[in-house]
Symmetry: C2
Subunit: 145 residues, 2 copies
């Protein structure tokens, strides 16, 4: 069982949210559970490329953070279901806006990734060279920053 060595600093809300939702499959899990896919095997079938072990781990993390709750039914074979908590539901508008923004950027993003594959690194595109003369006074100003 891995134990982290470097303490994390959660001094801003963004870092907190990224800690909670940052795993590879967590947003998929939240979406699926919110849409009625509740049993572990069904979640696995819905995300066939995900490692079952990691799904389990990330479900446990979401549970730990009280985003979801786990309901165990006393029967055999085992039956378990996951539900969003009210607190987890409070996250849905944020998730929706993240999803919407990403969706708008999707096409551009794909083109970028394609061009990246073709030419590896063409990063000068957004570089702007200022045509200003070299004045010593500017150094002083920079120092004041």
């Amino acid at each position: 069982m891995y134990e982290k060595k470097i303490p994390k600093n959660f001094s801003c809300g963004m870092a907190v949210l990224m800690e909670i939702i940052g795993g590879k499959w967590k947003s998929y899990l939240i979406y699926l559970i919110n849409n009625g896919v509740r049993r572990p095997a069904d979640l696995q079938r819905a995300i066939p490329s995900a490692s079952r072990r990691v799904l389990d781990l990330q479900l446990r993390e979401l549970e730990f953070h009280a985003i979801i709750k786990r309901v165990i039914y006393p029967e055999m074979p085992p039956k378990v279901e996951y539900f969003l908590t009210p607190f987890g539901e409070s996250m849905l508008p944020v998730v929706a806006s993240m999803e919407a923004w990403g969706g708008e950027y999707m096409e551009t993003f794909r083109q970028l990734m394609e061009s990246k594959k073709k030419s590896m690194h063409t990063e000068g595109e957004s570089v702007e060279i200022k045509q200003e003369p070299v004045i010593r006074g500017r150094r002083t100003l920079a120092k004041a920053v």
Copy 2:
């Protein structure tokens, strides 16, 4: 130079956004640049615990995704500034809502992390045991899911 082996699937907007903003320091960088901290050394001073190398790498990624642009001034010693692009600015409302949600959860989060340190794993808290009888018909229903 590391080369990734497993292709990623960006079939939802959420995955796209996480790819763009998912690095350890990226949200800090976006915040700082948006608030006028533009030069690499100033960014480094604003985040002293960050590795300078990783700051550079993540600035380059943000640039690649057209979230920020880099302006190089032709002078010596080198002078460079980063700015949010209009596209990058379109992300700010999303970032703000992420920040706000995380900020509300901050106190609870810290208490959870504290309790985790003390008892390592106390994960049964949100587990609910259903008190339903074992009926074979239920198996059939489960199969229909």
